[in-house]
Symmetry: C2
Subunit: 352 residues, 2 copies
């Protein structure tokens, strides 16, 4: 067994606190990773506070994991000790259903095994995430990290990166498309960088003029204040695709009306409450409102390779694991540009 | 000028009553049609009661119009006196915008001219619909009716037919697809017939067991009670496409969850109030909720030709124009199988 240091939520109400547990010894196809950095995603907070009702405590969150391979099982061919490695939101799936066969394991019909707060398919144990010193994952769910990227800043690609890359690709954003991004946070800022790299004309929608400079720096060609009717009118009916990264409940119709005929707006955030939708914005323009969920493993690797080639990483603020509870409070206030990433060396320092 | 007998709404609150007015003499490209039958659509009722706020009274409703050409303008090549002719929801558009060029005049960026309660592009006069003895329409917006179909039963194809045909075609329903139809009224019953003719596996969703026999007769291969959780569970995640024909506000999520990964549900009815939508049903399955609006003129002709070839018409109840107000009351109670069609001979009889 592999002694593992971590920070865990022990109840829905308690702050995260140190927690020691054992990771399994590597099975035939497992890769053992010593974690160097782990990004902090809103899902971590939702899960540890039991807002999604998945809680079986203790929970070690974290699914933007990067580090180095330190051991492999006897059947592993894809990784060797010393390799850089990444782990995102999933660590297993059935591999047999139509969605798994289509490289869309996130929609596994038997249920993908998520990186934390899920159950291992073999022994039923709780999966535990990346706010930890080590993780053991089947090689098919481990990603190769590009060597040229800053490793800490690349960690958020494993969730924020693929969550925005996948819909932009699926709805064929590229040269000649006009793309809108709603929300400028961890997901939104990645969407700007990626859509820009795909060659699209990129517009940031925001309610806050103060975000203009940053949006332009991150890849937007234009910024539209969505609470300014005149500005919105000028862009009405002109977008091929809009990626809506806001998870708070908000008016969808105003953005749907920005789409061209046959345009699509994709949601990647799940608001707590159902959002009122007026069918007219869809009907008068044959528009679509869609949803998208992270991306499959093959596409995640494609995204990482793309980011390596184009030098794309997240804008991050590095923190010590000891500061995670404060980071959560700041994240709730959107006080982060644009992703916290935990330097796991702080965990070792504390243990030493 | 062409003296025209009709029934019109003179105010939002008054019942329809006889109204005499003049249609214009045919312009260069106009076709003059003596109307034989006109279908009764829910939109007629919404419009005359000013529920859509378009009212400039008097309003002669009706946009499922069939009859015979009695005269043509000097530039008309597509029709000659004696031809059968149909007119649907539109009588003109700008013909120059990208949507018109794409044969999707219903999305004309300058605004399609609708058959009634709209404004003529040339003289600004109010357009008046098919509850009338004659209509004068530019040849490009007049359809050829198949000679083999019962003309009265073919009238509803001009709105109910194309409204369901267009989304079924756009989302590629055919052999090998599993298609759901929500609602069994004027639109729903056409959706069953068309989807069946396209070779799809067709399932009717209904809350009423009493509709089973009719749904099966009209083309459904199976009927699912949407308020029976067990039945719904059996079909969850199995549909390629769902056409939702219900215009009353209703729960969309339960139907979205019936879609396969990447499936689409299209709405063709506009509920009065926004409908609450939970993003989860879209995100967990990369599903889409779309809207569709009638169809372009070229596609309407394609639909009529298809219906001619396959002997598809609407199930109708023929009424006299004098009974239109009673028909409206019955339509509000869904007491019609499945479309009222006015026999315009009754108008002449009254005038005689």
């Amino acid at each position: 067994m592999i002694p593992t240091a971590s920070y865990a939520a022990h109840t829905a109400k308690a702050p995260l606190a140190p927690y020691h547990f054992d990771r399994r010894d590597p099975r035939e196809h497992d890769v053992v990773i010593e974690i160097e950095y782990c990004g902090v995603c809103h899902s971590d907070l939702h899960t540890v506070r039991d807002e999604w009702g998945k809680g079986s405590y203790p929970i070690v969150p974290g699914h933007e994991i990067v580090g180095r391979v330190i051991a492999v099982g006897p059947g592993v061919r894809k990784f060797k000790p010393g390799d850089l490695a990444g782990v995102g939101c999933m660590v297993d799936s059935c591999r047999e259903c139509v969605n798994c066969k289509d490289d869309l394991e996130q929609f596994c019909m038997k249920g993908a095994v998520f990186t934390y707060a899920s159950r291992d398919r073999h022994d039923g144990s709780a999966t535990q995430g990346g706010y930890s010193s080590h993780i053991v994952v089947d090689q098919d769910f481990v990603l190769h990290m590009p060597e040229n990227l800053d490793l800490a800043a690349a960690a958020p690609l494993l969730c924020a990166g693929i969550t925005t890359y996948s819909p932009l690709k699926h709805w064929k954003v590229g040269k000649g498309s006009k793309v809108g991004v709603v929300g400028l946070g961890g997901l939104g800022h990645m969407a700007l960088k990626l859509a820009h790299a795909f060659g699209a004309q990129v517009v940031q929608f925001t309610t806050s003029e103060s975000k203009r400079a940053d949006a332009l720096r991150l890849g937007a060609h234009d910024v539209v204040l969505s609470n300014d009717e005149e500005q919105m009118k000028q862009h009405a009916g002109s977008f091929d695709f809009i990626l809506d990264t806001v998870s708070a409940s908000h008016d969808l119709d105003v953005y749907l009306r920005m789409l061209k005929r046959d345009g699509t707006m994709a949601l990647v955030g799940v608001p707590e409450k159902p959002t009122p939708l007026a069918a007219g914005a869809l009907i008068f323009g044959r528009r679509s409102l869609a949803g998208s969920l992270i991306g499959g493993i093959a596409e995640t690797q494609e995204m990482l390779d793309f980011c390596g080639k184009h030098g794309i990483v997240s804008d991050i603020e590095k923190i010590r694991i000891q500061d995670i509870n404060e980071a959560y409070e700041r994240m709730l206030k959107s006080d982060v540009k644009y992703r916290f990433v935990i330097d796991m060396a702080s965990l070792k320092a504390a243990a030493a």
